[in-house]
C-alpha cells in the first residue's frame, strides 16, 4: 500500500506533463490539418525532374 503514496502523485505529475506535451503539439499546428500529412507520405517529391 505504501507504493500508492509515490505512484499516485507521480501519475498526477504525468498527467500534467502529457497535458503540456499536447499543448505544445497543438500550438505547433500539428492538429490543424488531419488529412494531408497522411497523404504526404505517399507523394514522391525527391525524384529529379519533377515539377
Amino acid at each position: 500500500m505504501e507504493s500508492l503514496y509515490l505512484l499516485v502523485p507521480l501519475s498526477v505529475v504525468l498527467v500534467f506533463l502529457s497535458g503540456w506535451l499536447f499543448w505544445r503539439s497543438l500550438e505547433s499546428g500539428q492538429f490543424d490539418d488531419l488529412e494531408r500529412p497522411a497523404q504526404e507520405l505517399l507523394a514522391d517529391d525527391d525524384r529529379p525532374g519533377q515539377p
Binding site: M1, L4, Y5, V8, P9, S11, V12, V15, S18, G19, F22, W23, L26, E27, F31, D32, D33, L34, E35, R36, Q39, E40, L42, A43, D45, Q50, P51
Partner: protein, 793 residues
C-alpha cells in the same frame, strides 16, 4: 487579377521605406494603387487586395468582419516596415484543388519559386501559407506560377477570419483533451473506491481524493470555461439560458466534492464532473465541425470579393482563366464561363456578345471584353452574400417557439433543483436535477440542421433568403408557376413565318434579319444567323420597330401599326392576329411582306420539374400574363392541369388568395421583378435570380442559377430538415419530461445524470447530421437537360 493603375508614384512614403499594402502587408510595387478607405488614404499592392479590403467595408459584410473592426486598426500591416529585413508573407485561397495530388503539385511549384522560405498547403481549408524573401520575389509572380499549373489563387488577409477559425478549433481541441484526459485519470482514481467494498484504507482513499481534486481543477477552470462564460453572459442579460444549469451543476458538484475532500467526510463525484465536461465538450466540438463543413461554400463566396475599383460603364478585358471582377455584359469575344461560385453549377456556360457575365465566374477559353454594369457591393455575388447572412440570422417559427420553451424549461429546472435540494436536504440531488434535465439538446437541435440545409441548397443554386421559409416550404400543397421567364427562358425564338406578299420565306427572313442586325432589342435575336442583304440608313423607332432602305425602297419591321402606317392598309385577312407583342410584321412601301410569330423557348427542365412536383403530391398551376391559348398550349405540353391566362399581377394575387382560402399552402415561382406582389402574397416564394439584382428580388428563395430543378431540391431539403428538427425536439422534450421527476425524486445519481444528459445531446447531434440529400435520379435528369437550356443564349 486585373491591374488598373490609378496613378504613378514610386510607392515609397516620406520615410523612404517601401509602403506596405493595406491589405496584405506586402511592399507596394512601382505603379501604386491608392484609394480612400475607412476615411483615410490606403495603398494596395494589387487589385485583389484592394477589392478584399474595400468590399469588407462597403459590401455590407459588417456582421462577418465586425471582430476585425473592433481590433486595433491593422497593426500587422505596418509590422514588416519596422523590420527592413522582414520576410514577405501571404495566405492564398487556392481554387481548383480537388485531391491530395493537386496540393502536392502546388506545394512543389511554390517551393521552387525563388526566395521562397515556407510554403504550406492545407488540404482541408484549401489554403496556402507562404513566406518568402521580398527582395527575390513578389506575390503577383507567385500567383502567376500557380496559374501556370492550372490553378488559381486569391490573396486574403490571414489575420482575419481564418485565424479566428484556427484559434477556435485549437482551443476547442485543447479543452476536449483536458476534459477527456482528466476524466480518464480521475476515473482511475475513483475505481478502487467503487470496487474495494470497504477494504481500501482511509489514508489511501484520501490520497485518491486529493489526486482527483488536483486533476479536476484544470478540467473545471480551463475546459469548462465556455460554460461559465456563457452563464455569466446570460446573467448579464438577465435571462436564463442553457449554460446556467450546466455551470451551476458543475460548480456545485465540484464545490461539494472539494468540501468533502478537505473535511475528509462525505461523497465525492469528481469522476462524474469531468466525464460530464468531456461529453458536453465533445458534443460542442462535433457541432463546430458540422457548422464549418456546412458553411464551406458560403465561406468561399465571402472570401472572393468583387473588385470595387471598377465603375459601371468601364470596359475591361478578361483573360482566359481569370475571374470576372464585376457584373457586366460581353461586348466582344466568344468563350464560356464557370459560374459555380454563384449558381452551384459547374458546367461551363457559353458567353457571346450581349450575354451577361456575373462577378465571381471564371472565363475559360478566349479573352472576353466586357462592359461593367455593376461593381463592388452592387454585384450579384455581394447581394447573395448579404442575403445568405440574413437567412443565417433568422429562425422558423417552430425553432423560435422551442427556444422560448427552452428558456421556460430552464427556469423550471432551476426551481425544481432548489426545491429538491431543500426537501431532501442533500445538495447532490440538486446537482443531479441540474445536470440531467438541462434542455441543452433542445438548443442544439435546430441550428445545425438549418445551417446544413441552407448551405446545401446554396450549393444547389437555391439561395434561402429567410430561414423561416423552411416551415411553409415543408407544407406546400400547391405551386403556382409563372410562364414568361420562369417556365420559359424569356428569350424569343421564331415560331411561325407567314409570307404575305411577293417574297418567299427565305427572302423575308433575310430581310428581317438584315433590318434587325442593327438592333439590340431581344426580338433581333429571334431571327438567328444566316444570309443578310445590304440595308441603308437603318433607323430604330423605339416602341415601334426599325425602318431602313433596301434597294432604294423603304422597308419596316415591327409592330402592326408601325407597318400599317407605311403600307396604308391593314394586313391581309386570314392571318390577321389579335394585337400581341409577339407578332412582328415586315412591310415595304407597296405591300405587306410577312408576319412572324415569335415565342418563348420552354426551359428543358420545365417538364421534369412538373413531373417531380406531381410525384411529390404537389398540385401544379400555371398563371400566365399572356393570352389563355398561349398558356394552355404550354400547359398541355408540360401536362399541367390547372392553367389561367391573361392575368394581371392583381389577378395572380387573387388566384393565390383563393387557393389559400381553401386551406392550401401555396408556393409561387416567378421572375421576381414583375411578380413582386404575388410573391409577397404566397406562403413561400421563389424568384429566378440569374441576371437580375438578387437584392431587389422580394422572394424567400432565389434560384441563383435559374435552375428549375432547385425548386424540387428546396422542397425535399426543407421537408427533410423540418422532419429532423421535429424529431430532435421530440426526443429532447421526451427525455427531459422523463428524467425531471426521476431526478427530483432522488433516483438518479450525479454520474447517471451526466451520462444521460450528454447522451441526449449527442443523439440529437448525430440525428442533425443525417443526410439531407435528395434522390440522385432527379438531380441527374435535371443537370443533363441544363446544358441545353443554356444553348439558347
Amino acid at each position: 487579377m486585373i491591374f488598373i493603375n490609378t496613378g504613378g508614384g514610386t510607392g515609397r512614403d516620406h520615410r523612404g521605406w517601401m509602403t506596405a499594402c493595406f491589405h496584405c502587408g506586402l511592399p507596394v510595387p512601382g505603379g501604386r494603387r491608392a484609394a480612400v478607405l475607412l476615411g483615410a488614404g490606403r495603398e494596395f499592392c494589387c487589385a485583389g487586395c484592394e477589392a478584399v479590403a474595400r468590399t469588407i467595408v462597403e459590401g455590407g459584410f459588417e456582421a462577418y468582419y465586425r471582430t476585425r473592426t473592433q481590433t486595433a486598426p491593422a497593426p500587422r500591416e505596418a509590422a514588416p516596415l519596422e523590420l527592413p529585413d522582414a520576410q514577405g508573407e501571404a495566405a492564398l485561397i487556392l481554387e481548383g484543388v480537388r485531391c491530395a495530388a493537386c496540393v502536392w503539385l502546388i506545394e512543389q511549384v511554390l517551393r521552387r519559386q525563388p526566395g521562397m522560405v515556407r510554403a504550406d498547403v492545407n488540404y482541408t481549408t484549401q489554403r496556402a501559407q507562404l513566406s518568402w524573401d521580398p527582395a527575390q520575389n513578389n506575390l503577383p509572380d507567385i500567383v502567376r506560377a500557380i496559374r501556370a499549373v492550372g490553378y488559381d489563387a486569391v490573396p486574403y488577409d490571414p489575420q482575419r477570419q481564418d485565424e479566428a477559425h484556427r484559434r477556435e478549433r485549437r482551443s476547442a481541441l485543447w479543452r476536449l483533451f483536458i476534459a477527456g484526459f482528466g476524466a480518464m485519470q480521475v476515473m482511475m482514481y475513483a475505481f478502487p473506491a467503487y470496487i474495494s467494498e470497504g477494504e481500501l484504507s482511509a489514508e489511501a482513499n484520501e490520497v485518491m481524493r486529493w489526486a482527483s481534486l488536483l486533476i479536476t481543477l484544470p478540467v473545471l477552470l480551463i475546459a469548462c470555461q465556455p460554460f461559465f462564460a456563457g452563464a455569466l453572459r446570460e446573467l448579464g442579460n438577465r435571462r436564463v439560458g442553457l449554460d446556467t444549469p450546466i455551470a451551476l451543476g458543475l460548480a456545485g458538484g465540484f464545490a461539494a466534492s472539494a468540501w468533502a475532500t478537505v473535511a475528509g467526510a462525505g461523497e465525492v463525484y469528481f469522476d462524474s464532473i469531468s466525464m460530464l465536461a468531456f461529453l458536453l465538450l465533445a458534443a460542442r466540438y462535433a457541432q463546430l465541425a458540422a457548422t464549418r463543413r456546412a458553411t464551406a461554400m458560403l465561406d468561399r463566396l465571402m472570401r472572393w470579393t468583387p473588385s470595387a475599383a471598377l465603375a459601371p460603364g468601364e470596359r475591361i478585358t478578361i483573360a482566359p482563366g481569370e475571374r470576372v471582377p464585376a457584373d457586366g455584359i460581353v461586348e466582344a469575344g466568344a468563350s464560356s464561363a464557370d459560374e459555380s461560385l454563384l449558381t452551384g453549377e459547374s458546367r461551363a456556360v457559353p458567353k457571346r456578345p450581349g450575354d451577361a457575365l456575373v462577378a465571381g465566374s471564371v472565363n475559360f477559353e478566349q479573352p472576353l471584353t466586357m462592359r461593367v454594369t455593376r461593381a463592388g457591393a452592387d454585384t450579384q455575388a455581394a447581394a447573395i452574400t448579404r442575403l445568405a447572412e440574413r437567412a443565417a440570422g433568422e429562425k422558423p417559427g417552430l425553432v423560435e417557439a422551442a427556444d422560448r420553451l427552452g428558456r421556460h424549461l430552464t427556469a423550471v429546472v432551476l426551481l425544481v433543483a432548489l426545491g429538491a435540494a431543500l426537501y431532501w436536504g442533500n445538495a447532490w440531488v440538486a446537482v443531479a436535477v441540474l445536470v440531467a434535465t438541462c434542455p441543452c439538446a433542445l438548443g442544439l437541435a435546430a441550428p445545425i440542421v438549418l445551417t446544413r440545409a441552407n448551405a446545401r441548397l446554396l450549393a444547389q443554386g437555391a439561395l434561402i433568403t429567410r430561414s423561416s421559409a423552411h416551415a411553409p416550404l415543408e407544407r406546400v400543397t400547391d405551386i403556382v408557376l409563372d410562364k414568361t421567364g420562369t417556365l420559359t427562358t424569356g428569350r424569343l425564338t421564331l415560331a411561325q413565318l407567314t409570307p404575305l406578299g411577293r417574297h418567299d420565306r427565305e427572302i423575308c427572313l433575310a430581310l428581317a434579319r438584315s433590318l434587325e442586325a442593327s438592333s439590340r432589342h431581344p426580338v433581333s435575336r429571334a431571327f438567328g444567323a444566316g444570309p443578310i442583304v445590304t440595308v441603308e440608313a437603318p433607323c430604330n423607332v423605339p416602341g415601334c420597330g426599325i425602318e431602313a432602305r433596301v434597294d432604294a425602297r423603304r422597308v419596316r419591321i415591327g409592330a402592326e401599326h408601325f407597318c400599317e402606317a407605311l403600307v396604308g392598309s391593314p394586313p391581309p385577312g386570314p392571318c390577321h392576329p389579335n394585337f400581341d407583342a409577339r407578332w412582328v410584321f415586315l412591310a415595304d412601301e407597296s405591300e405587306w411582306l410577312a408576319a412572324f410569330e415569335l415565342e418563348d423557348a420552354v426551359r428543358p427542365a420545365a417538364a421534369a420539374l412538373v413531373e417531380a412536383l406531381r410525384k411529390r403530391g404537389v398540385e401544379v398551376h400555371l398563371a400566365s400574363g399572356d393570352r389563355l391559348e398561349v398558356g394552355a398550349a404550354l400547359a398541355r405540353l408540360l401536362w399541367i392541369d390547372r392553367v389561367a391566362g391573361g392575368m394581371s399581377p392583381q389577378d395572380k394575387c387573387d388566384y393565390v388568395e383563393r387557393l389559400q382560402r381553401t386551406g392550401r399552402v401555396v408556393a409561387m415561382v416567378g421572375d421576381g421583378l414583375n411578380d413582386a406582389p404575388v410573391l409577397a402574397r404566397a406562403d413561400v416564394s421563389f424568384a429566378m435570380g440569374s441576371g437580375a439584382d438578387a437584392a431587389q428580388l422580394r422572394a424567400d428563395i432565389v434560384l441563383t442559377g435559374n435552375r428549375l430543378g432547385a425548386v424540387v431540391d428546396a422542397l425535399d431539403t426543407s421537408r427533410r430538415a423540418m422532419r429532423l428538427i421535429r424529431q430532435n425536439f421530440g426526443w429532447a422534450l421526451a427525455y427531459n419530461a422523463a428524467v425531471l421527476p426521476a431526478a427530483a425524486a432522488g433516483w438518479i445519481g450525479p454520474w447517471e445524470a451526466a451520462l444521460g444528459m450528454a447522451a441526449s445531446s449527442i443523439i440529437v447531434m448525430l440525428n442533425a447530421s443525417r443526410p439531407l440529400a435528395t434522390p440522385e435520379k432527379w438531380k441527374a435528369s435535371t443537370s443533363s437537360s441544363r446544358s441545353r437550356s443554356y444553348s439558347y443564349s
